[in-house]
């Protein structure tokens, strides 16, 4: 592991713990798309840090270019955790923003994505956008793993400058299956429910 990555993981663990709990699945080398609820800037790093070290090298978080695309943040994102930067603002309307994700999947890497598209303030995720559905249908062999990030909305929510150290648990659920001819809406609803189901620690303990 690069020193910059080790430092990054150390800081994240110190601040929010980022303890991974594998409830419906075990960590393994299979190619995966991890999709999670999104409430803070630490989310990406928390999931990435909670993975076993061997998996981190082949698992690439998605980061918005408008936030992570310059200066120190860019250095952290690309050198620290090998992020795939995407255009949220659609500066280049002719380019599909999902293209860098497809490229990473074709190379055999796993991805960490936030299907809500933006950070929310609540503990439970908002409606999912369609990117997850498109990637799921284009890459049928990739496992779709729901992930719930507990407590991070308390640590560094939208608009906050300083994090509050709280213990965050990262819960990994069972892969979401694909149902032939399922509509986009039904699939996205089912994927979102899989994340929400992990929100209650009692139901999954």
């Amino acid at each position: 592991m690069r020193p910059s990555s080790a430092l990054l993981v150390g800081v994240v663990k110190l601040l929010v713990g980022a303890y991974g709990r594998w409830i419906g699945t075990a960590p393994g080398p299979a190619q995966r798309i991890y999709f999670a609820n999104h409430t803070s800037h630490i989310d990406t790093l928390a999931i990435w840090s909670s993975l076993p070290r061997a998996l981190r090298r082949r698992t690439r978080p998605i980061a918005a270019r408008d936030y992570w695309g310059s200066g120190l943040k860019k250095y952290i994102a690309t050198r620290g955790f090998g992020a795939v930067l995407i255009d949220r603002a659609r500066e280049h309307a002719e380019v599909d923003p999902l293209e860098p994700l497809r490229a990473a999947l074709r190379e055999g890497d796993s991805l960490i994505i936030f299907p809500e598209g933006t950070r929310g303030a609540a503990a439970l995720p908002a409606k999912f956008r369609s990117g997850l559905f498109r990637l799921a249908s284009e890459f049928p062999s990739v496992e779709l793993i729901p992930v719930y990030l507990d407590n991070l909305h308390r640590s560094l929510p939208k608009g906050a400058l300083l994090p509050v150290p709280v213990v965050c648990t990262v819960r990994f659920g069972a892969p979401v299956s694909r149902i032939p001819d399922e509509s986009k809406e039904a699939f996205l609803e089912r994927a979102r429910d899989a994340v929400i189901a992990l929100a209650d620690p009692k139901a999954t303990a």
Binding site: L14, G17, Y19, R21, D150, N151, R154, P157, A160, L162, P163, V164, P165, V166, V167, T169, P201
Partner: protein, 318 residues
């Protein structure tokens, strides 16, 4: 370096060597035991045993650091312990967006400052910094955010957490700053004495409770605490503490009395934090975290015993 090592009391090397031998034996026995087949209950007892032995290794590590690397390193270690304990406490305490700034300040300003003040040996300030200034200012900042929902209960819980995990716990390394006869290395032995009696008391109460425990003291709060365990374990720990008088400025009678106070405070700490924990809806402070013992589960007795022990030494032996 040679001078530094020469200044270390010879008792340290005896204690350290004896503990290393004992702990190595204990760890070896635990390792052999854990390979034998066991039902769930037995396996849980063994896991508990291993956790306790590991806590002892940590304690011996702190002892080594306190002597070999000096008081600054010890302060940093305890500051980290406080940080993790406070993080656990705040995780289980409900907060609202208006608490964010005061909480950040608690972690990144109040906590480090408390340990810096101890490092500067400014008793007049570190004794009142959190109970007065953090107490007055942190809720004021929260009040500026105009969120009155559960205001008193939110700020009270946060202050309580800060008092226990930072203020009380910081009195353990504060022992190093006490000017007792024999110099600073002698006060490091006092820190060791405190940790030894507290841990011995925990272990002995556990053992006596397992062997003879019948009458529960507070079944709802802590089902494992029994009268037999407390009395038997407490007496055993007091006996061990009084036998350790030679590393302290106490006579053996005084050492017995002081150990008894440490035992009692440690017991009350475990009991009270257990009640707090249950009122917040958790059984273990680290329950949400797989494979993580919980810093507060390990330090609850020290949090209560440290300030009282510190005051006894400061008032009667400096």
């Amino acid at each position: 370096m040679i001078d530094h090592l020469r200044s270390i009391p010879v008792e340290f090397f005896w204690l350290f060597g004896a503990l290393l031998v004992l702990l190595s034996i204990a760890s070896a026995v635990a390792a052999v035991l854990s390979r034998r087949p066991a039902d769930e209950k037995l396996a849980a007892s063994r896991a508990n045993l291993t956790a306790r032995i590991n806590a002892w290794w940590v304690m011996v590590g702190i002892l080594a650091v306190a002597f070999l690397a000096g008081s600054t390193m010890t302060l940093i270690l305890f500051a980290l312990a406080s940080f993790f304990a406070l993080r656990e406490f705040i995780t289980l305490t409900p907060s609202r967006p208006g608490d964010r700034l005061p909480l950040s300040l608690a972690f990144f300003l109040v906590l480090p400052l408390q340990f810096v003040l101890i490092g500067m040996a400014r008793y007049g300030i570190f004794a009142i910094f959190i109970p007065v200034y953090a107490f007055l200012l942190l809720p004021s900042i929260a009040a500026l955010r105009s969120d009155i929902e559960d205001f008193l209960s939110r700020t009270a819980k946060q202050q309580w957490g800060l008092m226990v995990t930072v203020y009380c716990l910081s009195h353990a390394p504060a022992l190093l700053m006490l000017d007792i006869p024999g110099g600073p290395k002698r006060s490091a032995l006092l820190l060791f004495y405190l940790l030894l009696v507290v841990q011995m008391s925990d272990v002995m109460q556990y053992v006596f409770g397992k062997l003879f425990g019948r009458t529960r003291i507070a079944p709802v709060v802590s089902p494992s605490k029994t009268v037999e365990g407390f009395v038997g374990g407490g007496l055993a720990a007091t006996a061990i503490g009084s036998a350790m008088f030679w590393i302290t400025p106490f006579t053996w009678v005084e050492s017995a009395a002081i150990s008894a106070v440490i035992v009692l405070m440690g017991f009350l700490g475990g009991l009270t934090l257990s009640a707090v924990k249950r009122s917040l809806g958790a059984k273990d402070w680290g329950v949400m975290i797989e494979g993580h013992g919980g810093m507060l589960d390990r330090t609850d007795s020290i949090c209560f015993a440290a300030p009282v022990f510190f005051h006894i030494v400061r008032f009667f032996y400096t």
